[in-house]
Amino acid sequence: MKLPYKWLLPLSLLLSPLAQSQQVDVQDIVKRAELAAYYAGDDGRSAARMLITDAQGRKQMRQFVILRKDREDGGSQDMMVFFSRPADVRDTVFRVVKNTDRDDDRWLYLPGLDLVKRISAGDKRTSFVGSHFFYEDVSGRSTSQDNFSLLEETDKQYVLEANPKDPGSVEFTRYQVSIDKATMLPVKIDFFDSKGDNYRRVEALKTEEIQGYPTVTHSRVQDLRSGGETEMQFRFISYDLGLPDDVFSERSLRNPPRDWLELRD
């Protein structure tokens, strides 16, 4: 039996609004997830402790305080990372201005060399201070860099697939992100290489509600190829502190705003 062509037309007309509405949905999910993960409150502070474990089980520790202030929700952000441990990198500071329309601006202060340095724009998928996290995992990968589609929707989660718009700029071919419906937080991201192997996983291990904002307090990145991993735990989290703008200045690199870094109440 041969299917007449005219039959196909109404069928495709029927399908297209469905496809379109799904497209809208996905973008919306992505946007909401981005806001939940990176833009909770107008500003925020948290103390992070990072435990880097290599394939042989040897551990390294990094401890730092992150201060963040949104210039606009879902838009530009200021971010400062003040290292406190190990002692030999104490007072090392990163300053990041996250831009939506162009590359982020990044600066660095190394007290041991008495040096303020600008980090050139470029690849952000490099290791964050030797951990399995990338810079991009800490500041957030811009959602405009990938094309998303809905793979699966369960009672609790949306599972999206993301394909990079510029495959040459990243080491993955695609990734799959699971977003918790209740919090809209991404709870698991699996990265796949060109052979289709899942080689890297970023996961939220623990989520708590802080000042009404669902917040990931324990996360982990696993290198599924070599077996190394990095766990990051956040404590002393607070939002809407009213951080002044001058905290996020070049001056703060050499003169950390001690008051805002004091974790005791």
């Binding site: 394939a55 042989q56 030999d88 990198v89």
Partner: protein, 842 residues
Amino acid sequence: MADKLIELVTAKRKLVYWGLLILTLVFVAQLPGIQIDTDPENMLPQDNPQREFHNQTKTRFSMHDMVVVGVVNPDGIYNPKTLSHLVSLTEFATGIEGVVQADLMSLANVDNIDQQEPGTIRFEWMMKTVPQTDEQAREIRDKAERLPLLYNTLVSGDGQAAALYVPITDKNQSYAIAQQLRSKISELDSQDEWHITGLPVAEDRFGYEMFVQMGISAPLAGLTIFILLWVFFRNIPFIIAPMIVAMATVLITMGLLIGMGFTVHIMSSMIAIFLMPIAVVDSVHILSEFADRYKPGDEVKKVLKEVMGHLFTPMLFTSITSTVGFLSLMITPIPPVQIFGAFVGFGIMLAYLLTVIFVPAYLSGLSEKTLLNLTQKLPDESQSKLAPALVRLGRLAGSHAKLWLAGFIALFALAVWGISQIQINDNPVRWFKADHELRIADRVLNEHFAGTYDAYLVMQQQGDASADVKALLAEIADSEELSQNTANWLLQQQQQFDASSSLSTLISAIYDKGFELDMDESDRLTELALELEKLESQSKAFLNPAVLNYMSGLQQHLKDSGLVGKSNSLSDIVKTVNRELRSGEDKDFALPDTANGVSQTLLQYQSSHRPQDLWHFVTPDYRQSLIWLQLTSGDNKDMTAVVALVKDYIAANPLPDGLQTDWAGKAYLNVVWQQQMVEGMLDSLVSAFVIVMLMMMLLFRSVSFGILAMLPLTLTITLIYGLIGWIGKDYDMPIAVLSALTLGLSVDFAIHFIERFRATWAKQQNWQQSLKLMFEEPARAISRNAIVIAMGFTPLLFAPLVPYITVGVFLASIMAISALVTLVMLPSVMALTRKWLFGSDK
């Protein structure tokens, strides 16, 4: 004894045949379980401390076995085409199963660190995209040559070569991986020259060549012996007997070796070719005598009894002395050499047993017709070319005794001088022939790069901060500023604390505890944490600029010596990053002033695409580090010179406090087993010499005859090793192994000569007459045996690997020289000492 044996074996002939067949089949069944071992590391026992240290170092610094791919273009590799091929191959290699992706190194997947513009720092892929123009390709060159870790390692100094280091998880896959790389390279349509090498590839090829050797040389040896026997006896059924003995001996011995779970190493792969000629020697004696004595119509059993009665003891002794020579190899500390010695020793005794049991049984089963044929076709030895030559030799040997002796003494002195010139050296890569593709790859890559042979000078900080930590905790817990609860908590921590590796955890716990306590107590704990942090920082020796500076000094010294192609260390990494953090110019290629500065520099290095690269140079606790030395030569003598150089440097420039050094790396391990072998071989030679001499004294029931029997082989061995010294051939593994075992083989000639001479003398009681008779049948038998053994080893000359050839050449010449020396030296020495040895003529 011999009579009873003959009675027994001729009566139970069928049983002997079937027994031998079944025994052989049982052991042949073991052969398919063969496991080849080509790892040069196994020259040392598993528990050898240096070997263990080497493997610990490999693990600690995340090092893998590497397949090395080199690309060479005489016009330079910095052109879009070559670089794009390098990128394609790198991408392909990262996708191969069994490749450690994270540690794969090529220009196409390493980071460049530089300043995009003044005041900035940047980590980016060296070749994010393939350069499209020559201009862009040249930029890659400029970048790569600024990075000391890459320069002359991943790209050659002359710009004509690039390398790809492919780490693999399991070296058994090296062949498959190399094959995949090869087929990818052929797809590239490249005009450049590509080479694939690396230790795992070499080992794999080596294993293959070993099979070739066993498959070709051993059967060839069998064929050679068969032809020789035919020339001697001209009767196929007759000479089948020794061939069966030889085959059964080889098959049973190899079956036993494999069945007992031993691996077949380069040494044990030669067992077959050693046993083959040795196994037939006893049979040759029996056949010779039998052929001489048997006359048509004789009762075979009776002739056999006569022959065996004659030969039983000398054959036993020659077998035992040969066995002793091989068993003495078990004294060396090199496991493959021990196994070789043990199994050849076993095989010789087995061959003796098979000979005395099987050969008489076989001969007694031959038909009258065959035996008749034998006596008729037997070539008349007195008509051969050998016979008159030997007679002439006999006349010469007997006539100028003093002159001969003076000549021998002069030769001996010269040989001793030659031995003093011996250069001990080996290089497993040279075990391949000069035109082997791996030798070519090795030569080409070492011409272009700073060296493909690796050695690691590992530096470790000694001591442990545990005691200080515990004391500090106890002290603070004791102070009155803390509440009882907090003090108890601290003491609990103190008890749980076991090693400085957990110091970081302890400090975290103390900080965390502070948040639960009031301000005062918290401050006190913070002070404690800061003190502990000081201890923690002190324990990180390799963040200390003074320590790094020491490493740089040593590296400079190594470079100036010209012995080392290049060395790489943590110090180079720190200097490179520091340069880019500062001006980017050469003047800032220096170490920061403080440990914190170093640590922060490394924090930057770890912010690249490949943070794990740091752990190839230092452990995460910064208490162990290494200097990676690249050598262009794998010669042990060169590595030995480097070890001596470093030792002298450290003696003149003491190491920073608390540091200790040790060597690792294959180039170093080779030196270790070589040293052990040289010492071990001397022990084995001396002990074999003593045992064989005692046996000679026992056999001849005379101290002086015992010493006399040792003289020809002493001169022969000295001469051979003197020759090695004169011609400048390196004293290597095969040469070393030969010394002890030739002793056991060449004494046979002296045994036969003295035994026969004494018998002749007893009959003749006339010196000249005895001597004349000695150079007829007895000298022929000795020469014939020498020829069989020497010729039996010649198929090794066609072997694909150099050590086999060396063994073939030297064994053949030792046998020949030894027979000759025996025939000339013994008469002349006996002539001069005859009154003392034999008393006067009647």
